[in-house]
């Protein structure tokens, strides 16, 4: 199905030529739409910089073929150019390349070393994943001879979602089931790491007995922060599932005015998440 693999870092900077071989400009970025479709994620437009003229966004439909990494355009396409990104459109170079990859628990894993593209027989480019190994970094630094094959550490695009409007971090999605398989200690470690909102969501869907064990296993500051952020009825249900001794202590703790010193801060969550856009787009 796929004719060949291209790496974004090798495509960026390539000369864009017209059908008669004349130089049009340099390719500086590629865009994709985050429209929630479940099909393959295809490159939508090219950002082309021309000397002495403003940069233009050209639809991929204008590409006749890609020859040696150089997009060759059909004639007369510059008349149908655009200069604005759509609301759901991102630039792969600007918004994905070199951004932070974090796992479902917010743990930092790597940065995006490259974006892996696949050439389809119909000349369209499909975004298939991101390379995260340090080999990609060395290759881009011109030290490619030190590394082996270029795409050893690739995460499939379908396993990723961007965590903010402009891709400040790329987060690995994980099935909810993975969280359900955690024992009380694992759950305690997870709620200690994630931001308060996510922690309350995780505990809210757990069985109250397991949630209660997770709260008592976590540090008192974390437990208090999460329980206070929950609806009172849910927090009361979790506390009621604790042993009598623990329950009494936690009720007394929650009845007190919040102690501000020693509190734990959110891990890093200042931008709105947009999980829905990249969550398992292929179903």
């Amino acid at each position: 199905m796929l004719a060949g693999v291209l790496l974004l870092s090798r495509v960026i900077g390539a000369q864009v030529v017209s059908g008669d071989g004349a130089a049009v400009g340099r390719l500086t970025d590629l865009t994709v739409r985050l429209d929630g479709d479940s099909g393959p994620r295809l490159v939508a437009r090219l950002l082309v910089v021309r000397s002495g003229a403003p940069a233009v966004l050209l639809s991929w439909d204008a590409v006749h073929n890609v020859h040696c990494g150089r997009p060759v355009l059909v004639a007369g396409v510059l008349g149908s150019r655009g200069d604005q990104l759509h609301d759901d459109e991102i630039l792969l170079g600007r918004d994905v390349l070199d951004t932070q990859v974090v796992d479902v628990a917010g743990q930092r894993l790597a940065r995006v070393a490259d974006v892996v593209l696949a050439r389809r027989p119909d000349t369209r480019l499909e975004v298939v994943g991101v390379e995260v190994g340090f080999g990609g970094v060395l290759r881009r630094l011109g030290l490619g001879r030190l590394v082996g094959r270029p795409t050893e550490d690739v995460v499939a695009w379908s396993d990723l979602h961007l965590t903010s409007e402009r891709g400040h971090a790329v987060q690995l999605s994980a099935p909810r089931a993975a969280v359900h398989r955690l024992d009380a200690r694992g759950l305690a470690a997870l709620v200690s790491r994630v931001d308060t909102e996510s922690a309350t969501e995780i505990l809210a869907v757990e069985e109250p007995g397991l949630a209660a064990q997770a709260v008592t296993s976590a540090s008192p500051e974390v437990g208090e922060r999460v329980l206070r952020a929950m609806p009172a009825a849910l927090a009361a249900r979790i506390v009621a599932a604790m042993s009598r001794e623990h329950a009494g202590r936690w009720r007394a703790r929650l009845a007190r005015r919040p102690r501000l010193w020693g509190r734990r801060f959110l891990r890093s969550r200042v931008w709105p998440h947009r999980r829905h856009l990249f969550r398992n787009p292929r179903g």
């Binding site: 070199d98 940065r111 630094l141 400040h168 501000l260 509190r263 801060f265 890093s268 200042v270």
Partner: protein, 411 residues
């Protein structure tokens, strides 16, 4: 325990305090104390106004670093890679790592010199200090590490007491602080630029931003974090002020010159008394210890930011190997270099200062560019007025670095 509204506000401030205080105070490291000592010994109270300028520069850029860390959740080197690409990020990281290792050597040299004032060999003090800072970071949680480092920072009070014991001319000190005058000599230009350069350092900026991320501060905490940054910067300036004052009131009055901070402590003894000299030496050890903890930490944060791997003091070694390994390697290299006989330490320290100065300029320009990026900073992006302030401060630093370069090249 019940807290009133005022008490709650204080408690919230106490919870946020840390990044600004530690990043600011660690700038008063042995190189800083030496610069202030020479400033006071050679020029008396006349150039105290420079400390006012460096404090303002510290407030401006440490505040910006904290804001960028809180808003993006990323450290400075990570953002540089994300915004300017893997090559620029790699070049900045390489320069920063080399400069940080050199500066760590300076901090361990400060520890060695400080303990030698009290007759303790460097072959005991330096390994002890290296082991202590490594254990502190490896074994401690974020909050424990922060509390211990803040506790170490209280040793800077020694400089304030030392300044009072020197019985300075307070009127002349105030005049020198608020009325800028400048002897037009190469030496004076060099010491003014060195004072600015020693206060605002690349490692301090990268530490400030990464530490704010590690502390998991939120945008709601930014107003209180600004208080933390201003407090740290002002305390840094105040400590520098008292070091200059102590040396101006004694060494300058008697026409004595010094070459480093340990030298100043010895020279103070007959002029300001045993207590002032002892306090000066204790201050030097504490300052060196604090900076020797922060420098490897700043390097480890930066390496992890570039690679994108976890860098949190709360994480165990198994989950943050790159972070702790980098910390250990930088500490070890710094300590070993200082203990190795016949190593050209002075050449290393001078080279490090030059590298820090050269690196500072592109780093400040990159920070201004990042701060203006709306895609990155959203509603917290810097507007025109902010850009003007950052631009003017950067311009002042560029002029100082260029002047320092010319002074070094042409005497």
């Amino acid at each position: 325990m019940r807290l009133g509204r005022g008490g709650a506000r204080w408690a919230a401030l106490l919870a946020v305090l840390g990044p600004g205080l530690l990043a600011g105070l660690s700038d008063d490291d042995p190189a800083g104390i030496t610069t202030y000592s020479v400033l006071g010994a050679d020029h008396g109270y006349q150039l105290l106004w420079v400390l006012l300028l460096s404090t303002i520069a510290l407030v401006v850029f440490h505040g910006l670093a904290a804001r960028m860390g809180v808003v993006t959740g990323q450290g400075l080197i990570g953002l540089v890679r994300q915004r300017y690409g893997v090559r620029v990020g790699g070049a900045v990281l390489a320069a920063l790592v080399v400069a940080n290792i050199g500066t760590t050597c300076a901090e361990f040299a400060g520890i060695a010199a400080g303990f030698e004032l009290f007759g303790i060999s460097r072959y005991l003090s330096v390994p002890f200090a290296a082991a202590a800072v490594s254990l502190l970071v490896l074994r401690g949680s974020f909050h424990r590490v922060e509390r211990l480092l803040l506790l170490v920072s209280t040793v800077f009070l020694a400089y304030i007491v030392s300044g009072f014991l020197a019985r300075p001319d307070w009127g002349a000190a105030l005049h020198g602080t608020v009325v800028p005058t400048m002897p037009m000599t190469g030496e004076a230009v060099a010491i003014v630029t060195a004072t600015l350069g020693t206060t605002l350092a690349p490692w301090g900026l990268s530490f400030m931003q990464s530490y704010a991320v590690d502390k998991k501060l939120r945008t709601e905490d930014l107003p209180l974090e600004r208080v933390d940054v201003i407090t740290g910067a002002v305390l840094t300036g105040v400590i520098g002020f008292f070091v200059v004052v102590a040396c101006a009131a004694t060494l300058h009055r008697d026409g004595l010159r010094v070459t480093d901070a340990a030298d100043a402590a010895v020279a103070l003894q007959p002029l300001a008394g045993e207590a002032a000299a002892v306090l000066f030496g204790i201050g030097l050890i504490g300052a060196s210890f604090l900076a020797a903890s922060i420098l490897p930490l700043s390097t480890a944060y930066s390496v992890c930011e570039y690679a994108g791997v976890e860098a949190a003091l709360d994480d165990p070694y198994a989950e943050a190997r790159t972070f702790y390994t980098t910390y250990g390697v930088v500490t070890l290299v710094g300590a070993v270099v200082v203990l190795t006989p016949d190593v050209p330490l002075v050449t290393i320290l001078v080279g490090t200062q030059v590298l820090n100065a050269v690196l500072l300029v592109p780093l400040l320009i990159a920070m201004v560019g990042l701060a203006r990026d709306r895609d990155l900073m959203g509603s917290f992006a810097t507007g025109r007025a902010g850009t003007l302030v950052y631009g003017l401060t950067t311009g002042a630093v560029v002029v100082c670095v260029a002047t320092l370069g010319l002074t070094v090249l042409f005497g």
